[in-house]
């Protein structure tokens, strides 16, 4: 993609003012988000790259929207910290793209998603106005919280140039546990059991496996207590759920990579609640899929996007396609329009952002 890459906010403002239709692109790591852009001018975020302010003591980090997630993660790691919302594509995406598409990984399970960690942003809107939303401290209740609104906004309301997040100390150690279950209902029972239990899991994922289903759990904490915690977890799952076999394994990375092995032309994120999984799964049992963050998010790979679109609509679900040549990345139920349209009317009245 040949994008204009404004080097400054001024250049970005000029770009917005000069074009009728503008589409924002970061690293292009989620190609499906860009197919519908048509002839719109492409605005690259690469000019807004780099960490602007990071104060480990404050648990806050501010970076340009075009900063690769990997750069941020590496800098945080140097200070024993991390982004608890766990960006989904740590090696290929920019932080802006991660926010715009609201893409979290498995470890989001522990403390929350992007909306829970975004503190503020600088943006340029459809009228070319550059301004700030939210704040830069971990707690702030002044004004409307438009920074949260940007999460999942797909660049349709304003272009982010700078983002501020709350960050956390990273737990020193991680351990993973994998258990096999005969069928989906068994695994959902196990998830419900865990939902009402005291275990503070770092990640809770499940997916169909060779024989039956595989439940992947991850615990984080101190080295000297992790073994007993994981043992207790394992024992209670064995005693109180229908787990067949499995145990502690060297599976931390597998637990953290929800997209591994999801081959297919299109890859779709589906937002759902665990109780909606049986209905969906019965219809996608022929597809590669994985249920992430305790069954609150599904990843489905398909070659037939139309079918999935219709299915999601039928089930009252929404999907976002991030891989494949989708004409529109949004699937299933239409988005809310009443409130969102008012924001659009204010930030992008001429409908420039597509």
């Amino acid at each position: 993609m040949n994008a204009n890459v404004p080097a400054s906010i001024g250049e970005l403002q000029a770009l917005v003012k000069a074009h009728d239709r503008i589409h924002v692109v970061g690293n292009g790591s989620k190609p499906a988000l860009h197919h519908g852009a048509g002839d719109a001018a492409l605005a690259g975020a690469g000019g807004f790259c780099g960490i602007i302010e990071y104060q480990p003591q404050e648990f806050t980090l501010t970076a340009g929207a075009g900063t690769p997630v990997s750069v941020i993660a590496a800098e945080l790691k140097r200070h024993g910290q991390y982004l608890p919302f766990d960006p989904l594509l740590p090696n290929s995406s920019t932080i802006g793209g991660t926010v715009a598409a609201n893409l979290s990984g498995a470890r989001r399970y522990r403390y929350g998603g992007i909306r829970d960690f975004i503190l503020g942003a600088r943006v340029v809107d459809g009228l070319g106005r550059a301004f700030r939303v939210g704040g830069k401290v971990v707690k702030n209740a002044a004004g409307f919280d438009l920074s949260k609104f940007l999460v999942g906004s797909l660049g349709h309301y304003a272009i982010m140039t700078e983002l501020t997040f709350k960050v956390f100390p990273e737990p020193p150690q991680h351990r993973a546990l994998r258990l096999r279950y005969a069928a989906l209902p068994d695994i959902l029972d196990a998830v419900y059991y865990l939902n009402q239990n005291i275990y503070e899991l770092d990640a809770l994922e499940f997916a169909p496996a060779d024989a039956g289903w595989s439940l992947l759990l991850c615990l984080a904490g101190f080295e000297d207590t992790l073994p007993s915690r994981i043992l207790a977890l394992q024992e209670s799952l064995r005693a109180d759920t229908a787990g067949l076999d499995g145990g502690e394994g060297d599976d931390v990375n597998a637990a953290w990579q929800p997209l591994a092995g999801l081959t297919g032309d299109y890859l779709v994120k589906v937002a759902l609640a665990p109780k909606q999984i049986p209905g969906l799964d019965a219809r996608v049992s022929h597809l590669k899929r994985r249920y992430s963050i305790g069954g609150n998010l599904a990843w489905v790979a398909t070659d037939d996007l139309k079918m999935l679109d219709a299915l999601l609509l039928e089930q009252g679900l929404r999907g976002l396609c991030i891989r494949g040549a989708a004409s529109s990345p949004l699937l299933g139920m239409p988005l809310e329009v009443s409130l969102a349209a008012r924001v659009k009317q204010v930030l992008d009245p001429m409908n420039k952002f597509v």
């Binding site: 104060q55 003591q57 404050e58 024993g80 609201n102 979290s104 403390y111 929350g112 909306r115 829970d116 301004f131 704040g135 401290v137 971990v138 707690k139 702030n140 209740a141 002044a142 004004g143 409307f144 919280d145 438009l146 949260k148 609104f149 940007l150 999460v151 999942g152 906004s153 797909l154 349709h156 309301y157 939902n195 009402q196 005291i198 275990y199 503070e200 904490g221 101190f222 000297d224 007993s228 915690r229 207790a232 937002a271 759902l272 609640a273 665990p274 109780k275 963050i293 998010l297 929404r318 999907g319 976002l320 949004l330 809310e336 409130l339 969102a340 008012r342 924001v343 009317q345 204010v346």
Partner: protein, 483 residues
């Protein structure tokens, strides 16, 4: 109040749920901030969604401003009535409609009291995390409007982080729904829940709210450390953070607030402490014990002269009761006081406290300090005697200087109480004209007649101001100007 409007309301409400007599209206003229008083034109007490929707539509149609009110505990005057406007009292919208312990969610009406949710889900080993000090009486609707915080925000966030979905009526009568029962909330598309929460009642009224519940911690370790000066307690917080720990709560109280809280609830705080630090760890027992061992080491090195660890749930409850009563308890020390709410970067807490010390001596007033140290959220309580001529003005000026300092240090003019009436004139210290204009435009896009909680959040003259004389404190300091 105008008759056609009252007559139209009478079509919606039976007489006993439509209050119009002075004696019924006067008790509604203030919320938790008594510096402002405005008698509303009427108070309507809806019992279902349809009544709220009809009422909002009627207000929109007849251009009558309204304020949605829960228990009236706002400390920023957020639910102050509008003269001749309508109060929509949501106290009877207090049903917990559904609890799904397996999915860890609760679906509630806006008038449900915060703590009642925790009581209702306790049997399932769950709780509702946000814990503003007034949690025994404040309602979820109010928590949503002001994105209420509490002592445990650092780790688990504020109200916004615990709302997954909602059905709302916008100020122009449009009913809409966003979010879901998924932990991912809105999940796909812009996060409208995040936008609505904290909008201070200017967008509309939440009718039904889906809340995230959390598993009740298996173990709490609550440590009370006493220091002989405030700075040392502040340093202890930095040391805890630097050690890599992430406590659920870190609170500091100074000598005056300790005295007040002690008088109120006999919390058993060390009597001769200049500052108290409360640190609470919670979670899985094994993990908490390991963190606790680390915390003890840090506290030991921090120079505390006395360290106590709550030995039972009763002791823990007493420690928190003292802390949570502190604001109101100051009523024992002084006939009047202003509760302030500002945020500074945590690493500059010490600096901020010294600055407050300097400012207060300048004004000759006492300031009690209670704060959420973990997230740099200060709550200076400025004590004054309103019967003394000029005392209120001095207290306000002092408060203004503290807020200006928060902004200067890179913080915020409010961490959790919101702007409401109290701080609307300080908004220009935090936001540029353009940023304010964009927010106001958004408000008008949703509420073209500006009827929902008119007069709050934005600087202006549409609602009665605090008895202010001359320049605003921030103007005097040159932080803002009206030109």
């Amino acid at each position: 109040m105008n008759h056609p409007f009252i007559q139209a309301l009478q079509q919606i409400y039976p007489a006993e749920r439509l209050l119009t007599r002075d004696v019924q209206l006067l008790p509604y003229e203030s919320d938790g901030l008594t510096a402002f008083q405005t008698k509303p034109g009427a108070v309507a007490l809806p019992v279902d969604e349809d009544e709220i929707i009809s009422t909002v539509r009627l207000c929109h149609q007849m251009e009558v401003p309204f304020v949605a009110r829960g228990s009236g505990t706002s400390l920023s005057g957020g639910s102050l009535p509008i003269a001749d406007g309508l109060i929509i009292g949501l106290n009877r919208m207090n049903r917990i409609k559904r609890i799904d312990p397996r999915g860890r969610i609760a679906v509630v009406e806006p008038g449900v009291i915060n703590l009642h949710i925790t009581h209702a889900v306790e049997p399932y080993g769950l709780y509702y995390a946000p814990d503003p000090s007034s949690q025994s009486i404040c309602t979820i609707g109010g928590n949503i409007a002001f994105n209420s915080g509490g002592a445990h925000c650092l780790k688990y966030g504020m109200t916004s982080n615990h709302v997954l979905g909602m059905k709302v009526v916008l100020a122009d009568g449009t009913v809409t729904q966003f979010g879901s029962e998924s932990l991912d909330g809105v999940g796909i598309g812009p996060d409208l829940v995040g936008l609505f929460v904290g909008s201070e009642g200017l967008f509309g009224i939440a009718l039904e709210i889906t809340l995230r519940l959390m598993p009740a911690p298996q173990l709490y370790r609550t440590v009370l450390a006493a220091y002989d000066n405030l700075g040392r307690a502040g340093d202890a917080v930095s040391m805890v953070v630097a050690s890599g720990l992430l406590p659920g709560a870190m609170e500091i109280m100074d000598r005056l607030s300790i005295k007040a809280a002690e008088a109120a609830v006999a919390a058993g705080y060390p009597p001769d402490a200049e500052a108290l630090l409360i640190v609470e760890l919670e979670g899985e027992a094994l993990q908490v014990e390991a963190e606790f061992a680390q915390l003890q080491g840090v506290i030991e090195e921090s120079g505390a002269f006395e360290v106590r660890v709550a030995q039972s749930e009763e002791e823990r409850a007493r420690i928190w009761k003292g802390r949570k009563s502190a604001f109101s308890a100051v009523g024992r020390l002084s006939p009047d006081f202003i509760v302030q709410d500002g945020v500074v970067p945590r690493s500059r807490l010490g600096e901020a406290l010294q600055e407050i010390d300097a400012i207060k001596s300048k004004y000759g007033l006492d300031v009690a300090n209670v704060f959420h140290a973990g997230d740099g959220n200060l709550h200076p309580l400025i004590l004054y005697d309103g019967r003394e001529a000029g005392a209120l003005e001095r207290a306000e000026a002092l408060a203004g200087e503290i807020l200006a300092m928060c902004v200067d240090l890179g913080g915020s003019i409010t961490g959790e109480h919101g702007i409401g009436m109290e701080k609307r004139d300080y908004m220009p210290a935090m936001f540029s004209d353009q940023e304010l204009e964009i927010m106001m435009a958004l408000r008008r896009a949703i509420d073209p007649k500006e009827i929902a909680n008119r007069g709050k959040m934005f600087p202006g003259v549409e609602a009665p101001a605090l008895q202010q004389h001359g320049l605003h404190p921030l103007e005097k300091q040159g932080v803002i100007s009206r030109e």
